[in-house]
């Protein structure tokens, strides 16, 4: 299942963002940040303790089931007075949840996370980006592996000169997308797909911010 993959901001940055706010309410998320162990119940508890130690008054904490869901507002209404007393809401979900809560409550929200990418857990504790929603899919010609996402430079015509022993020039722990594609196409007997010239990518798939009206 796809998830929003996050990493907690350095505590110094969180402290800077909370400057001037004495009373804080902390909200975790029971979905993605629970899976990535960045904003589930244990992390909310640790954050609450850390901020108390730094002199903040924690007016309350909760972990909502799905922070980005429209029902979040109703769930948070149970904490009305604790939220009202707070100078700011520290939200330990991804940025989808932070924005949802900010819009629903009209409150001051502070993100505790960097939202890195939409990805999945490809092995225990390892999260990978598989698709970056570019709006012009070419994986029908690349053996089902996406070079726009898996290649650091989003190259669509083959590897760059930085590839080395099947790894990427930016990190020897990252696979070279084009080595993966090459191996897959070779196994499928479709190496000719790799010889096809791919035109410059169409960035007009859906101009950012994405908005798509699906007729009922």
């Amino acid at each position: 299942m796809i998830r929003s993959i996050t990493q907690q901001k350095p505590i110094e940055e969180i402290e800077r963002l909370l400057e001037g706010m004495g009373r804080i309410f902390i909200i975790g998320c029971g979905t993605c940040t629970t899976l990535t162990r960045t904003g589930g119940a244990p992390e909310v508890e640790t954050m609450s303790k850390d901020l108390s130690d730094k002199g903040k008054v924690i007016t309350g904490t909760t972990v909502v089931p799905v922070a980005c869901d429209n029902l979040t507002q109703q769930i948070l209404s149970e904490y009305g007075s604790q939220i009202k007393q707070a100078d700011g809401l520290l939200v330990m979900s991804c940025a989808f949840g932070v924005q949802t809560i900010g819009t629903q409550l009209g409150a001051m929200v502070i993100p505790a996370q960097e939202t890195l990418f939409i990805g999945k857990e490809t092995s225990i504790g390892l999260f990978s980006e598989i698709c970056n929603q570019c709006g012009s899919c070419i994986i029908g010609e690349t053996g089902g592996v996406c070079p726009v996402t898996a290649c650091h430079k989003s190259m669509v015509n083959g590897p760059c000169g930085g590839t080395n022993a099947g790894r990427c020039e930016i990190d020897s722990n990252k696979d070279c997308a084009w080595t993966l594609i090459y191996k897959r196409l070779k196994a499928l007997g479709r190496l000719d797909d790799m010889r096809k010239y791919q035109k410059p990518r169409n960035h007009l798939g859906e101009p950012r911010p994405g908005k798509c009206d699906i007729p009922a």
């Binding site: 430079k153 083959g158 760059c160 000169g161 080395n164 099947g166 090459y182 790799m194 010889r195």
Partner: protein, 294 residues
């Protein structure tokens, strides 16, 4: 207008290109000194484009300086820092100022350089940039609009003959030639027996190939490249030869090795010429050429 470099490529002579690297800042004395030193010795000089993703004086400005000082520039263009609008605009500008040679590169990752938080553009990549040049030579831009005045370029690309795995690299090499590459400057080669094998494959294509020669300055540098530079493989025998140089004599030994390799490439007609990269030691390029008997 056929560039002097293109004429040299098709003259049947052994072609020699070298590299001049713009530096960080507006003091151009050293760059101009290198241009003056090399302009009558080599057939053309590549002007690097924020080499290794380190921000410097631009390659287009450097290529103009080469021209103004009587040299023949090869403008290196990477796709890392400019989108398709900016790349096409720079090609128009280059043509209008008499720059008619270009080496098309995708470019290193921004992460390898000194502005790691910057955005890598990569709107196009090397093969697409080559194709763009051929479209612009026919008087159109990438969106299909008419140009009032087309460009004309002798366009080239690179290949890494020792890449691992090699087959994807060769497929890309063929795509670059199909996209319009007229010449290829290779990543550094040190094992000429391996390179001969690559050439026996590459000879079937209508493209001029210049073997990349990087000057070794120490045994440590050779080991560093083997460990850190993709597709560069310095054989142990050359590392030993560098290590065995007398104290203070490593550079001299490196010049001797580079000269010896170039001589062999030329005498055995392994390929069409060489591209000498004396990273940071451009002033010894004439010594390398002398050692090669050029």
């Amino acid at each position: 207008m056929t560039s002097a470099f293109k004429t040299a490529l098709h003259s049947g002579k052994f072609v020699v290109t070298s590299e001049v690297a713009p530096l960080k800042g507006t003091n151009l004395d050293k760059f101009i000194h290198h241009v003056e030193l090399l302009k009558d010795k080599v057939d053309a000089m590549n002007v690097t484009d924020h080499q290794s993703s380190v921000m410097r004086y631009p390659s287009l400005g450097g290529a103009l300086l080469v021209k103004e000082h009587g040299g023949e520039p090869i403008l290196q263009m990477t796709c890392r820092d400019r989108n398709r609008l900016a790349l096409q605009a720079d090609l128009l500008f280059a043509h209008s100022r008499g720059i008619h040679n270009v080496l098309c590169l995708t470019g290193d990752s921004v992460l390898l350089g000194d502005h790691k938080e910057g955005k890598g553009v990569f709107d196009l990549e090397s093969s697409q940039l080559l194709k763009t040049i051929r479209i612009m030579e026919r008087g159109k831009d990438l969106a299909g609009n008419d140009l009032d005045g087309a460009i004309e370029m002798c366009a080239g690309a690179i290949v890494t003959p020792e890449a691992d795995p090699i087959e994807p690299q060769l497929i890309k090499f063929e795509k670059k030639i199909e996209a319009g590459a007229e010449f290829i400057q290779t990543q550094a080669v040190y094992d000429l027996e391996n390179f001969k094998q690559f050439m026996s494959y590459a000879r079937q294509f209508d493209v001029k190939i210049l073997a990349g020669i990087i000057l070794l300055t120490s045994a440590g540098m050779a080991r560093f490249m083997n460990k850190n530079v993709a597709g560069v493989m310095v054989p142990q025998s050359l590392i030993d030869e560098m290590a065995g140089a007398p104290k203070g004599g490593a550079l001299k030994k490196g010049i001797e090795i580079a000269g010896r390799m170039i001589r062999q490439v030329r005498e055995e007609q392994i390929c069409d010429g060489v591209h000498i990269m004396a990273i940071g030691k451009e002033e010894v390029v004439p010594d390398i050429m002398a050692a090669a008997g050029l």
